[in-house]
């Protein structure tokens, strides 16, 4: 399992190659990449600053991946989340899951990002033409996590 919080960008192809390794049991890899949009709640986003709670973040992410392992037959998973200052089109987060068959990889990948969004201690602050604002949590994210 790879769980990383970092300021620098990540290379999706490289991370997926590392996740697969030379494991011949892997028949499927599903991935999700979160990207900074230029619009949020009817405002133009110039930059985004992500902060987290070091120590708790890693613990929470490992706990979410462990829960995915209990629920689905997955081989390995990687979660990489960026922090610091980001701009529209920048990558924020990568979730990648390997498994023997696609169903487990798809489901576990979606589960991990849904739980990350509602449980892992990250916060976004946006800079818009009207100034800075903390992003408010969305009910739709809670609903997405509650499905599982």
């Amino acid at each position: 399992m790879v769980v990383r919080v970092q300021t620098e960008d990540f290379d999706v192809a490289r991370e997926i190659a590392l996740l697969r390794g030379s494991d011949a049991r892997v028949g499927a890899v599903a991935s999700f990449i979160g990207i900074v949009r230029d619009q949020n709640d009817a405002a133009t986003v110039r930059t985004l600053t992500l902060e987290h709670y070091p120590g708790m973040t890693e613990k929470a992410l490992v706990g979410i991946v462990d829960e995915a392992r209990r629920r689905w037959s997955i081989i390995d998973a990687a979660v990489i989340h960026r922090v610091g200052k980001l701009a529209p089109t920048d990558q924020i987060v990568l979730v990648a899951v390997s498994s023997a068959h696609r169903g487990d990889a798809f489901a576990a990948c979606e589960f991990i990002i849904d739980f990350l969004k509602t449980q892992a201690p990250f916060w976004k602050k946006e800079v818009t033409p009207d100034g800075e604002r903390w992003v408010e949590a969305r009910t739709s994210d809670d609903e997405a996590a509650a499905r599982w």
Binding site: E51, Y53, M56, K59, I92, K117, P121, W123, K124, A137
Partner: protein, 84 residues
């Protein structure tokens, strides 16, 4: 002493990233700690008002109102998370 940590919007509103506090004897869990902080008034009472969405972690694990708080613990207060 208990180490309090304030994150994201709460740090901005309280104007500090955290503090070491000696808790009164009758403050033994998260619910009592929030009530005690609320009694400071100002941003403390408005941000931590009942009904406001405040999340708490004790020693980096998600806590509830009845989670015990003891000397030496690290207690973090933060708004609902918005990562991903």
């Amino acid at each position: 002493m208990v180490e309090l940590i304030y994150l994201a919007r709460l740090r901005d509103r309280f104007g500090l990233p955290g503090e070491s506090v000696a808790l009164p004897g009758d403050v033994a869990d998260v619910g009592a700690l929030l009530a005690w902080l609320r009694s400071r008034g100002g941003a403390w009472s408005s941000e931590l008002a009942p009904g406001r969405a405040v999340r708490v972690a004790v020693n980096k694990d998600v806590a509830r109102a009845d989670t015990p708080v003891r000397t030496g613990d690290e207690v973090a207060l933060f708004p609902p998370v918005t990562g991903g």
